[in-house]
């Protein structure tokens, strides 16, 4: 019995962290699919989301309000960065990638400059721990998982069934043809940046609800988010979600069975294995946007 308890607890732990990583992976994969830019500063977007949440909660706001603020702030940041910087690298995605590397340093040090490099934490928004037949379940982890599931499901629905979602998928498939069909592709690119950034903002708010964060948390998170995006197939949003789920279960499993010091390695081992045997990811990715030569 006891082994099973630990197992379930670890799976929950694994899934709650994987939720945050999935939120990053979906943003990374959407932005790559449409622009060809791998935005490595996406982890810093998440960090900013966490910092905004910390500031808001420290200022006495409630956690839900802080989450909304984090989403709005990082979404706005994504809008400004896309219009101000990434827009000009669209023809050369590699430049966009390099710009994102520079942004990592800038965003980290803006936080250090205005505040400090120390760990920041907020009081747990939910402190209840349920005891279900001997299994101790922290409600805050369940909250993180449920919010992620709801948000990802909503994004999914938007992308698969709405007119805008169809136009978005068409733009991912072939940007030039989409434009000829009257789809304002540039506006969709901005939209995807804002959506991806807002998801990262949410991820940051959820992360600081689970753990303390530093201004340098972004690197680890984006590496895992990128690994998840690659495992699922870069550019494939379904793949990112499925791979996030797989990673959560694998990490939970490993932590529960005494390999916890290896937890961080699993995502990368999995990524390496998948790429060796299925170079386009488990669910097939895109090779980035098709552009006029």
């Amino acid at each position: 019995m006891r082994a099973v308890d630990i197992f379930i607890q670890q799976i929950l732990n694994g899934l709650s962290i994987a939720s945050v990583i999935t939120l990053i992976a979906v943003g990374v994969t959407l932005i790559f699919g449409l622009t060809g830019i791998i935005n490595f500063a996406h982890g810093e977007f998440l960090m900013i989301g966490g910092i905004v949440t910390w500031l808001a909660v420290s200022a006495g706001l409630s956690f839900p309000l802080a989450v909304v603020l984090a989403i709005l702030a990082v979404g706005l940041m994504g809008y400004v960065l896309e219009r101000g910087i990434f827009r000009f690298t669209l023809e050369r995605p590699t430049n966009g990638f390099i710009v994102s590397l520079g942004l990592i340093v800038v965003l980290q040090h803006v936080v250090v400059l205005f505040w400090n490099p120390n760990q920041k934490s907020i009081p747990r928004p939910l402190t209840t721990v349920w005891d279900v037949g001997g299994v101790r379940i922290a409600s805050v982890r369940v909250m993180v998982i449920l919010i992620t599931v709801a948000v990802v499901a909503l994004s999914f629905r938007m992308i698969t069934t709405s007119r805008y979602g169809r136009a978005l998928r068409a733009s991912v498939e072939d940007r030039d043809t989409a434009a000829l069909m009257g789809i304002p592709v540039r506006r969709y690119i901005t939209g995807v940046f804002v959506l991806g950034s807002a998801l990262a903002g949410l991820g940051g708010a959820l992360l600081i609800a689970l753990f303390p964060i530093t201004p340098f948390i972004g690197g680890t998170m984006v590496m895992k988010g990128f690994a998840v995006a690659l495992i699922g197939g870069l550019g494939n949003i379904y793949g990112a979600v499925a791979a996030g789920l797989i990673l959560g279960i694998v990490e939970g499993f490993s932590a529960g069975y005494g390999f916890s010091q290896w937890t961080d390695a699993y995502s990368f081992v999995l990524m390496i294995l998948v790429l060796l045997f299925r170079p386009h990811g488990l669910f097939g990715g895109t090779s980035g946007p098709r552009m006029a030569s």
């Binding site: 072939d174 009257g182 006029a292």
Partner: protein
């Protein structure tokens, strides 16, 4: 009657190369105009500049009397100019029907309101792809993709349709079918401008030809007259005739 599309002094440089060097061209409403010329003469660049894929360095393009020079591709599509690429164009991961649906969803009313194909199904019928409606575009043979490309362009309800080598890679039977379709378009209120270097095809389709060479127009007139023009024979056929 004033032309539906009027191109004046259009120039486009790529690096130091002038792909278009001051081209003037008028497309009259209801005609099928052919633009021919050897490889690298600027035909595709001409279409790319008109449809907003590239910005011109100089010159102007006006469509139905409105200046559209340098507008974004989606705006030009919504204004009523359809375009099919030289390569097959399709959204590979989506079904044929979805492809046509998307193409029709972002049309501004009024581009060509009396389209004879009000539904995606009607368009697939017209190009003869009804049987393949639910197939993913990515698995189709090239000939079908070509027809799908035509359906996509028509779904945007164009008043003017630009076709870039529509028959490239098609066999004789497919080419004949395509010619049959394109010839019906003026009857549906769609003016056509087609690029190709297949002279047999152009003779079947066009009563008027314009010839480009090194980015300049060297001839423009009735097909027979243009094909008999020694200047055209020299650049186009290497002076062998």
């Amino acid at each position: 009657m004033s032309p539906i599309l009027e191109i004046r002094g259009l120039s486009k440089q790529f690096g130091g190369v002038a792909a278009l060097a001051g081209v003037d061209l008028a497309v009259e409403e209801g005609e099928i105009l052919g633009v021919v010329g050897p490889n690298g003469s600027g035909k595709t660049t001409l279409f790319n500049v008109v449809t907003g894929v590239h910005r011109p360095n100089a010159g102007s393009v006006s469509f139905r009397g409105r200046d559209i020079t340098g507008s974004a591709p989606h705006a030009i599509s919504r204004a009523g100019i359809g375009y099919t690429f030289q390569q097959a164009m399709a959204f590979a991961g989506l079904s044929m029907l979805e492809n046509v649906q998307i193409a029709g969803e972002h049309v501004r009313a009024g581009a060509n309101a009396n389209t004879p194909w009000p539904t995606p199904q009607a368009l697939l019928d017209f190009v003869g792809l009804t049987a393949l409606a639910d197939e993913k575009a990515g698995v189709l043979p090239f000939g079908s993709l070509r027809l799908l490309g035509l359906a996509l362009a028509l779904a945007t309800q164009p008043a003017l349709l630009l076709l870039d080598e529509p028959a490239a890679g098609l066999n004789d039977r497919e080419t004949t079918a395509l010619v049959g379709l394109v010839r019906q378009l003026p009857g549906h209120g769609i003016t056509v401008c087609v690029i190709d270097h297949d002279m047999k095809l152009m003779q079947m389709l066009c009563r008027r030809l314009a010839v480009l060479d090194f980015g300049s127009k060297i001839a423009d007139g009735p097909t027979e007259a243009v094909l008999a023009d020694p200047k055209v024979l020299e650049v186009y056929l290497g002076g062998d005739l």
